[in-house]
Chain length 619, copies 2
């Protein structure tokens, strides 16, 4: 923002800034400061101009200013903003000074540096400025400031003209809201200090004296708890309350529940105490509400509440823990079996068939159900293991073999649809790309080589495909890039003519490849089971279709994700090229790198060719 | 390749080609053909000039040439090479004609097309050309040609002047090596034909007659087997031999073993036959040699050789199958237990502790060893399950808890080293990048903006880092890009000053991120076990260090894999830009896309933030 006024003023300000910079470079802070005050130039510039040099010259700065008021003025005007970026930009080519202490805030850095220098120079003389430095920090250090006032009262400085407690307190009240100061004085648990602040404030003694007297009458731990609670410092409050003895535990439990201080609370009580148990139960209840049933179960189990723990574990299918707790209780065998069946049912719903089978086999003692669960889950080898373990070869004929043949046809049909979809998308992608290319060339023809909007081509080309979708063109900061990617992915649509149809197709193709590639293990184990039961023909056919599908997709990768998107095939320069022709040819290549290669464009999928799935006996 | 000679000839040839193209475009094949013969221009051009048009005009072509000899000349001169790409390049701007039938060879396409047209026009008249078309195919169809000769002999053509069997055979012998023809005549199993060829050949009847007479004396299937074997057509031979009855099975088995026709052989015999079993055993032996023990086991098991199958399965840790077979044999309990222990030991070596535990628990009936295996494998929940199942809570105190504490310190130390290595690589990467940037700028300064070698900068910059390694600059076809990537990955070295050090560092950083990210599940289960046994402090510490490590790495990703590598941050054009400055600034951005983004540059690793591992109770 330029200052208002006529051109002359503008010019004048630039000259003034040049002068100020010279003064600051020469460490002539006094001249700079006075000029800035007079011309109302933001004092932050003193620091912003060159933070490192300023921090190294603080003593010079203080000595030159030589006035508590001036120092206070500087401190109170401090802001996080860097004025050399906003109000007073550096002259072009000037050096940029980074924040000297990364991660710390500028205001805090300056306050701390000034304060410690003043304390080492003359803490009496600079007393009020020191207080200002405490108060001005981004999180004001009111208690420290109050503590200093209190010290002044306890040990009044002997030096003539030194600031007394009264004056310091008055000054603090001028800087800070009286109620804030009163609250913070309470937080020191120092009633002298509280009274001192209260007296200086406009508060009615009838209001605060009864409260203070009540507090004074309390047992020290409970007193501090009461103060902390009053000040909403609940963690501290809980800490003090935990030292107040058993009779106050219900109050503590209430506080924990209200303020959700469960983790804190568990650290304050012995793990073998009754209080610990009560707190654990309360915490577990809270965790259950937060959908953290397993952790609730762990807390309940370890504090000796196995029945509740069992409920918690069962509710979240943490079946191993559930079974262990059940056996610890111990649950009678029939109930254990029931529990196992319940858990197995839930696991089967989550397609965790192996685990369901284990429960059915070992705890419900129902090997038949266990084997059927494994067959449902296509866990062929494990199914066979249980069949032999329990000598139930009859199930091989009745269930296993038919299931194997079913699996072959299911997988074959699935592969066929995947291949068909893949081919459809691939063909469509070629069409879309050709259209875009054509649209781009048409644009170039229309506007001729002098067109200044070259960089708009690729943007425009997506519009050219005849859609009504529009692409937002808003500037994007690197910070928001994650959200942007999410938003852009949402824009992807496979609908014909959608502006990002090509990218949507690439995404869809990558997904199909990933899905089909993921089948390697499943197909491998199915093929082995088929061979074992002499279904060689079906196995050969399946192996062939899967292999063809994989090969077809692998062969399509260079076409769908051409290397050309990264490299430059066409010659760029030559005797006939102009700046514009070079630009244009670069735009064509570079744009993909800038926009397409972004989040929307998935990298070519990697196929796990290291996972061997083929059977030599079927070749 | 330009023809040798003085400039005049060169010029003349160009004019001739222009004339030829006009003739061919006008379907004036006769003029073209005669001119080409006279001037020794490769006849392939007749097809190559415009394959599609030629294939549509074959009848015209044949009619115009009107001479068996000319057609034969054209056929014999056919080559796979496209003469418009090699000898007679098309004039600039001329249309490029793709192969009309992709996937089929040009020579085959032309031979087939000519032959079928001639057959439909007058198969007697074009007899010799038809034979030529058969013989000239990339895999000569000698048997079909011979069959046609045989037919001529059986049914001599009545038309006057038609080619007889004798003449045709003579012609064939002129085209093809006599031994080849003799062998192929044998392959028709037609002794008349064989004799006809043999008589025409220079072969000594004393040589071939005994062999033919011996063959004639054989049983038909065995006869065909003998011929096929003689011709090294082993698959066919095996097929015929399998029809020769049981007494010939040993010979078949020998053939299968010698020629590795196991898969074929299994298809020829019934699955319940003794032969099938012998073949399966032979195949299994072969598969064992090929390190395919599991498949060998499957074949042995299904053909009723459980003892050998058990050995095969055990040798490759296919433990489920091994146990099933063992129970089918059935192995006595003590031997089954021994087998289970052996298998478990091997599995533990492969860090498959859960499976080892299952064997120890269920088959070796040694729950203690099973639990210890699970503890060794850090499978905490499953260990606890077995502890409760077998009521061995004593192991919790003696082994489980100490192992948990060990695991905490191991993981902590591991995380520390990973974080330290990560930080070291990251710092070094910043240094290397700065050096490269500086080297690039230095180059630009030295050469000035008119330097024509702008595209060499980035190549050169890697040399500038003071290494003695050099990057090969050879042209790369897209086909060899896979091998190239492999080779380039090998070049990556973390050694300071290595030319690709930056990429090597990025690889190393990506690997560390992947390693640490992979620990989520392990840390999660360890944390839960720690909480259960009240080791809250250790758990909290571990959770904190792991979280810090993950956050540090995630925060480093934008620095190590900057988005700037893909996009263009600097302004490119403006009133002061020149063609050269635009080029230079593009080179800087575009090069990374072309070379760095290639295989050597790993994409930013994706962290599995979806995998929740943190415990709320530890926060």
């Amino acid at each position: 923002q330029m200052p208002r006024g006529n051109l002359e003023t503008v010019h004048h300000r630039a000259l003034v800034l040049a002068q100020l910079r010279m003064w600051l470079d020469g460490l002539r802070f006094r001249e700079a400061f006075e000029c800035m005050r007079k011309l109302r130039i933001n004092l932050n510039l003193i620091y912003d101009h060159n933070p490192k040099v300023f921090l190294e010259s603080i003593e010079t700065f203080i000595t030159q200013l030589n006035s508590i008021n001036n120092i206070n003025l500087f401190l109170t005007e401090l802001k996080e903003e860097d004025t050399t970026c906003s109000m007073y930009p550096r002259p072009a080519g000037g050096p940029v000074h980074p924040q000297p202490i990364p991660g710390k805030k500028k205001v805090d850095v300056v306050c701390d540096a000034l304060r410690s220098t003043m304390e080492s120079m003359d803490s009496n003389k600079f007393c009020l400025s020191i207080l200002t430095a405490h108060v001005k920090k981004t999180v004001p250090e009111l208690e420290t400031a109050l503590q200093k006032v209190h010290e002044l009262r306890e040990n009044p400085p002997k030096a003539p003209g030194a600031v007394g407690a009264e004056e310091a307190l008055k000054y603090l009240l001028f800087l800070v809201n009286v109620n804030d100061l009163y609250e913070h004085s309470l937080g020191t648990y120092d009633f002298d200090l509280v009274l001192m602040v209260a007296e200086k404030s406009q508060k009615d003694p009838k209001e605060y004296l009864p409260f203070l007297n009540m507090l004074k009458s309390l047992e020290p731990n409970y007193q501090r708890f009461t103060i902390d609670k009053h000040l909403k410092r609940y963690r501290k409050a809980l800490h003090h309350l935990s030292n107040c003895g058993d009779e106050h535990f219900p109050e503590a439990l209430k506080l924990v529940k209200e303020q959700k201080l469960h983790s804190e609370a568990l650290r304050l009580y012995a793990a073998d105490s009754a209080h610990y148990k009560s707190l654990s139960c309360a915490y577990a209840e809270h965790l259950m509400e937060q959908q953290q049933a397993e952790q609730a179960g762990l807390l309940l189990w370890r504090c000796g509440e196995p029945v509740s723990a069992l409920q918690a574990f069962a509710s979240c299918s943490s079946w191993r823990n559930a079974i262990c707790v059940a056996q610890q209780i111990p649950l009678p065998p029939d109930q254990l079996a029931l529990l196992a069946r319940d858990l197995a049912e839930k696991l089967a719903e989550q397609r965790r068939h192996s685990e369901a089978a284990l429960l059915l086999d070992q705890y419900a003692k129902d090997c038949e159900e266990a084997i059927l669960a494994l067959i449902t889950g296509a866990v062929w080898e494990e199914a066979l293991r249980l069949i032999y373990m329990h000598n139930r070869q009859d199930i091989t004929e009745t269930n296993l073999k038919p299931a194997l043949l079913d699996a072959v046809s299911t997988q074959t049909v699935f592969l066929e649809t995947q291949v068909a979809t893949f081919t459809r998308h691939r063909t469509r992608l070629a069409v879309v790309r050709e259209q875009k290319e054509k649209a781009k060339l048409d644009m170039l023809d229309e506007d001729g080589p002098d067109c200044p909007d070259a960089e708009l081509y690729s943007e425009a080309s997506s519009v050219m495909t005849g859609s009504k979708y529009s692409q937002s063109n808003s500037r994007i900061s690197s910070r928001s890039s994650k959200n942007r990617r999410k938003a852009e992915r949402k824009k992807l649509s496979l609908k014909e003519g959608s502006p990002m149809e090509d990218k949507a197709l690439m995404h869809a193709l990558a997904e199909i490849i990933a899905t089909v590639d993921k089948m390697r293990e499943e197909i491998h184990s199915l093929l082995k089971a088929l061979v074992l039961f002499q279904f060689d023909k079906q196995a050969e056919k399946l192996q062939l279709s899967y292999e063809e599908a994989l090969q077809m997709m692998e062969a399509a990768v260079p076409e769908v994700w051409p290397e050309g998107l990264h490299s430059s095939p066409a010659p760029l320069t030559g005797p006939n090229s102009t700046a514009n022709s070079i630009m244009a040819s670069f735009q064509q290549q570079q744009r993909p790198a800038a926009s397409q290669l972004d989040a929307e464009m998935p990298p070519p999928p990697k196929m796990r060719n290291g996972v061997k799935w083929k059977l030599a006996v079927l070749q």
